[in-house]
Homo-oligomer: 345 residues x 2
DNA sequence: ACTACCCGGACAGATTCTGTCCGCATTTCG
DNA sequence: CGAAATGCGGACAGAATCTGTCCGGGTAGT
């Protein structure tokens, strides 16, 4: 640590020390800053006068701690950046980002204190006026776990962890981590599984006790991480895997079918859709809902289900409906979105 | 402004003044802080030594400005809050939140500087390891416009604006704004339309030149803003509005059909689904894809389309498929989601 | 050329800071 | 209960820094 001559700079150093450890006594601080304990006490008083919440305990186990809240020094963000902070944290608080609702709200409150007064007023108005939609939260992920995995990805270093798959089975995994993806309100890790010698995608909320093994590794492949996650979601270990010939071209099919639903490719001049589900009925319904005709190649159970569904659609909508006219609506928006469940996993 | 005795506290006051106005000369600052210009110059030097980027111009139009960047004082966020900031801004940067990509990246870079060194390293690793998924950005909304509307909501004050509807028609609108919603990557305003004497929902990216009229109003109703947006999305001014009887109970129907797709209610012991689209074919496909049987009450065109679809499903999947076995996959994740287009608007 | 700005050294006096000393209060442990 | 280890803050003398004043130098705009 370098020593500075001016008291105001030393104040900031004291503040930094208080942050790096939860607990200091005056003797420790004095030694670190090369001042006396009396001066430490004076500096603590100065920090308090400046609005920093320094908490002290007398007695045998006494010492200083930095409390939360209090006045904070100015923050150098542009107006756009401040709005982005408010909007981004608001989105996190409403569950748009996996599992950081409360922390985001708290962080937002603190950051607001640090804005210039005029802009603060406006950002506060934005938060007050914005209604939280019930998007729902993703599964909680321990921040410590997330950061540990992130560090493993970055070094890069092999990790070991306990994993719980969809059916509840626990297995030990050893992997070379590659990248993190936050998709569909969940966090995923794309990694190379050392025991299976292949790429795998794991959900972080199903991961326990990650341990950095200490073994560094060299990356020899650069997979498209986002694509693997998206593809993986489509071809999860469902009970039924269907192969369907679509009566359309590849571009149209790709535009219509999200990669998280199914994989589309062209083989011998035909457009083939592969997708999975745990229930035949679900597959039949999904295929029936596609905006182009489809022939199921396999499995035959799905073909049968589609024929049965076709018959039921005809039977239910013969003639003679009851007439009711829906009320007119003037709405000036557009768009919609939905999660598509495909049977229990 | 209150005056303080200690030079270190005055430094923070000087820093605050430099933020409130883009330009000050020494004489103005001296008068504000009740010190001489020479002392202002000394304080500026001290701020620079502390890492604040104070920019000065000599000459007739000279003065001081606070530049961007530079060292920043410690920020009092918990680890959880810091991760939430990083994650939330990362989501905004990847288009998860409407229109604040670049500003979010810049804000994130600045905030990272303010973390304690150990935590900063870990948050940086998180950002490096996280792959941006191609969620796509929503339409850009001018931050100034967003903040103006937010302020109108909060006061509350009537506003006037030019609105472009789905077909491109421009109209003048006078409204009493109630609340803002960020849904489906777009910003919406829920307001009471004064000319139509009814509640309306507007997209902010289709709004121009909002003007605060100066007329305050009192809120006499508290509508469910999020529900109005969601409901509005389902019952947009489509060419075809269908009414469908579902062979299931209300709870099941509500669980299966998002409010952004259609409205479900129970009438005389029957579960009724109302939804709209610009194309009959789309409605037929969607209804066919539902996981329960459905009878279309109206319009007859949709009933006809469903019968036709049922026949085609049977024809396309008679017998004798070509046999191909899909490759097995071990993927440990689940879930999917997609925007559901329903014909051109 | 003139005016209005920023820059920073030098000096004497004013102000603040520091270490030392001390008594008081609180908490924990044996 | 007493001892030990902590925080608290006043008082004092000397050390250190800050301040206003003065001044010469440099830059930018009219």
């Amino acid at each position: 640590m370098t020593f500075v001559s001016s008291p105001s700079a030393r104040l900031l150093q004291l503040l930094s020390l208080l942050q790096t450890r939860p607990h200091w006594n005056a003797a420790e601080l004095a030694e670190r800053l090369r001042i006396t304990e009396r001066t430490v006490r004076r500096d603590v008083t100065r920090l308090r006068q400046l609005g920093y919440p320094v908490v002290a305990d007398a007695g045998r186990a006494g010492g200083y701690q930095l409390g939360r809240g209090g006045a904070l020094p100015p923050l150098l963000l542009t107006d756009d950046e401040s709005v982005a902070v408010a909007v981004g944290l608001r989105a996190a608080a409403s569950g748009g980002v996996a599992g950081y609702d409360e922390a985001a709200v708290a962080a937002l409150a603190k950051l607001e204190q640090m804005l210039p007064a005029a802009l603060r007023e406006r950002v506060l108005a934005l938060n007050a006026a914005t209604v939280i939609t019930r998007a729902g939260s993703g599964p909680l992920v321990d921040p410590e776990l997330l950061l540990t995995i992130a560090q493993a990805c970055r070094r890069p270093e092999r990790i070991r962890f306990t994993y719980q798959d969809g059916s509840g089975t626990l297995t030990e995994r050893r992997v070379e981590p590659h990248g993190l993806v936050n998709a569909e309100r969940r966090w995923y890790l794309v990694a190379r599984d050392l025991d299976r010698q292949d790429w795998r995608t794991f959900r972080l909320d199903r991961m326990r006790d990650p341990v950095l093994t200490g073994h560094r590794f060299v990356r020899t492949e650069e997979p498209d991480v986002a694509a693997m996650v998206a593809r993986g979601l489509a071809l999860a270990p469902y009970r039924w895997q269907a192969e369907v010939v679509l009566a359309t071209d590849l571009r149209e099919a790709e535009a219509e079918i999200p990669r998280t639903i199914g994989a589309v490719e062209e083989v011998d001049g035909e457009v083939i859709l592969r997708l999975g589900a745990n229930e035949v009925e679900w597959l039949a319904r999904y295929i029936a809902g596609l905006p182009f005709d489809a022939e199921v190649r396999s499995p035959p159970e799905v073909r049968t289900a589609l024929r049965r569904l076709g018959r039921r659609l005809q039977d239910a909508n013969r003639t003679r409906p009851r007439r009711v006219e829906p009320a007119p609506t003037d709405f000036c928006g557009v768009g919609g979105s939905a999660f598509v469940p495909r049977g229990s996993i």
